[in-house]
């Protein structure tokens, strides 16, 4: 039993979201125009595509599932990737996760002399920063700036369109027993707030946590957002509307304004039209 739990804990710690990332400022950021890029961070891969660097990608991870990267060789997972596969692709830039979850990879990349940059895809602000960092690394600053402006405009539009709607009390459930909910400090919380919802678990002491079912029953909730295929017992919130959310919106990336709009429509129903 213990060996089993250890295995799973190792997998869980290795695979879970990069919420606690230490900012790393000790290494100069590679500048210029990388031409053979491996992105270990799926949302950064999407950003590279958006700023027009798709043809510079030479590798992907198992978690990049879009048809446009399907022909690229995979280097395994984003954390602790297969270093031999990376070396064999002769990259001049590796984009990796910031933070302390995978201490091995940055050290090994240094040993191998492969330039790398760390991005932290945890918060709305991180997404914009990632775009700028990747723009500098690829010499595509102009299109990066344009993408940042596009995302900001998209977010501003969502904010404007939800303004006439009264704010709704929202619980975001990620499944599990007891039900896991998103708390403050998470990307999901930010997205819900942008979409005109007030997270009823703003008082949660952690980023995500399983809460007592009676806690959900006792809180006033207008909309329960249930992510993906997870099951939520509707009798825990008999007065709330229950909506299924596509899990893909939980991944912070260049499409975050679309994600916010999607969430806003789930929370409020049809939105006021955008002003011309």
């Amino acid at each position: 039993m213990h060996a089993l739990l250890l295995t799973i804990f190792a997998a869980a710690c290795g695979g879970d979201g990069a919420e606690e990332g230490a900012q790393e400022g000790d290494r100069p950021e590679p500048q210029g125009s990388a031409t053979r890029i491996i992105s270990l961070v799926p949302s950064a891969t999407l950003t590279l595509r958006e700023i027009g660097a798709a043809d510079r990608l030479v590798g992907r991870t198992d978690f990049d599932t879009g048809a446009w990267v399907a022909d690229l060789p995979s280097v395994g997972g984003g954390l602790e990737p297969n270093l031999e596969a990376i070396v064999s692709l002769r990259p001049d830039l590796v984009v990796r996760f910031a933070g302390s979850q995978d201490r091995r990879t940055p050290a090994r990349l240094d040993d191998l002399g492969i330039p790398h940059i760390a991005v932290r895809p945890d918060r709305v602000e991180d997404v914009l920063e990632t775009v700028r960092v990747l723009g500098r690394a690829t010499g595509l600053e102009a299109s990066a700036a344009e993408l940042v402006a596009r995302i900001e405009a998209g977010l501003a539009e969502v904010e404007e369109r939800v303004r006439p709607h009264p704010r709704k009390r929202v619980a975001y459930v990620l499944g599990g027993t007891p039900p896991w909910v998103a708390g403050p400090g998470t990307y999901i919380h930010e997205l819900v707030t942008l979409a005109g919802g007030d997270n009823v678990f703003s008082d949660l002491g952690e980023l995500y946590a399983g809460v007592s079912p009676e806690e959900i029953r006792s809180r006033e909730i207008d909309v329960v957002l249930v992510s993906g295929t997870d099951v939520f017992d509707p009798s825990l919130a008999p007065d709330a509307r229950i909506e299924i959310v596509d899990e893909s919106i939980e991944i912070p990336g260049p499409h975050l304004a679309d994600a916010a709009l999607q969430l806003a429509e789930l929370i409020h129903g049809p939105l006021a039209p955008a002003s011309p």
């Binding site: 039993m1 060996a3 089993l4 739990l5 295995t7 799973i8 804990f9 997998a11 869980a12 695979g15 879970d16 979201g17 978690f63 990620l174 499944g175 599990g176 027993t177 007891p178 039900p179 896991w180 678990f201 008082d203 949660l204 002491g205 952690e206 946590a209 399983g210 809460v211 007592s212 079912p213 009676e214 806690e215 029953r217 006792s218 993906g228 295929t229 997870d230 099951v231 017992d233 009798s235 008999p238 899990e247």
Partner: protein
């Protein structure tokens, strides 16, 4: 301490822990509110909390905790091994494979029964596999082969889980870890009923076999000479105890330490006469798990911590103290 003193004490402890568990929770309620809700009056939210969330959860804790403890006591007697616990026959591994498969393939969407059903099926599969191996050698079932087969099957299942999780997204891994650590949060009246329908007669049957179990604990040879139908007792009690574990693991996940620590603790106090050991283990397990669940709900409320954390944190030091005392006074 005599067995009667301990029996009365444990009965009171179980009742008190049941009452506390209905009275307390992450949502603060007054005694008057709880009593009104029990009578079917008052705020509908409070009624739901008391009647549909807390009560079934408390009953499930009693059934699963008592069931695991009595199953553990039975396995320790039959396998004549102090390390035996309810999950020894690869039951937790089999149940976990079932649960992880359901989570990995997204079958949870099929309904709230999909996961417990798969976990139960996995546990039964493990039991069947281990028994087939242990009885393949001849007519008599060799408990050493049974033990070894259980360990090996558990290792195999654990490899299966590691493989499935290695190729699954982080979300599946997270759900799987949570499930494996166990929780009573999913309790409904239906799960209580299903567990009770099996656990109640199974517990009575085990208690009824206490005398032959006493003989078996001495040794199979001796038991045979003293007139016990060794094979029959062994098979029936093993299957019954294994199925109690399977039904518990299906509704509450893998909750450790109850089945190992509780029977030993009871044995250290009153000795190993199974006529007293089995029923008292049930009571002690019921009280222990109910209180552990209360701790899991209250410690960091509104967040729940895994119940296995509490059973280990409380059970292990308590057990070590008992163990020291029993060594000090032979």
């Amino acid at each position: 301490m005599s067995r009667w003193t301990l029996g009365v004490g444990l009965l009171i402890a179980t009742l008190v822990s049941v009452l506390l568990s209905v009275r307390l929770g992450s949502v603060p309620l007054t005694t008057a509110e709880v009593l009104a809700a029990l009578g079917g009056n008052g705020d509908p939210v409070v009624q739901d909390i008391v009647l549909r969330l807390r009560l079934p959860r408390v009953f499930l804790g009693v059934l699963v905790g008592g069931g695991l403890a009595i199953a553990g006591a039975t396995f320790q007697a039959l396998l004549r091994n102090p390390l035996a616990e309810p999950y020894i026959l690869g039951i937790s591994g089999g149940a976990s494979v079932g649960a992880v498969l359901v989570l990995a393939f997204g079958w949870v969407a099929a309904g709230s029964w999909a996961l417990p059903l798969a976990a139960f099926a996995g546990a039964v599969l493990a039991i069947v596999l281990v028994f087939r191996v242990a009885t393949a050698t001849g007519r008599a079932m060799d408990v050493r082969v049974l033990l070894l087969a259980g360990v090996v099957v558990a290792a195999f299942f654990s490899a299966c889980i590691a493989f499935i999780l290695a190729i699954s997204p982080a979300r599946t891994v997270q759900s799987a870890v949570l499930w494996i650590m166990g929780s009573l949060a999913g309790a409904t009246w239906r799960s209580v009923l299903l567990t009770a329908v099996y656990t109640t007669p199974a517990v009575l049957l085990l208690v009824a076999m206490a005398r032959p179990l006493n003989l078996l604990a001495i040794g199979e040879e001796t038991a045979h000479h003293l007139g016990a139908d060794v094979e029959r007792v062994k098979r029936i009690s093993l299957v019954v105890a294994a199925l109690i574990t399977a039904s518990g693991v299906a509704v509450a996940g893998v909750i450790g330490f109850v089945g190992l620590v509780v029977p030993h603790a009871v044995r250290l106090v009153i000795g190993s006469d199974h006529r007293a050991l089995l029923p008292l283990s049930f009571l002690a397990g019921a009280a222990f798990l109910t209180l552990a669940d209360l701790g899991a709900r209250l410690a960091l409320a509104p967040t729940e911590i895994p119940i296995g954390v509490i059973t280990a944190f409380v059970g292990v030091p308590f057990f070590l103290v008992l163990l020291r005392r029993s060594v000090a006074t032979p």
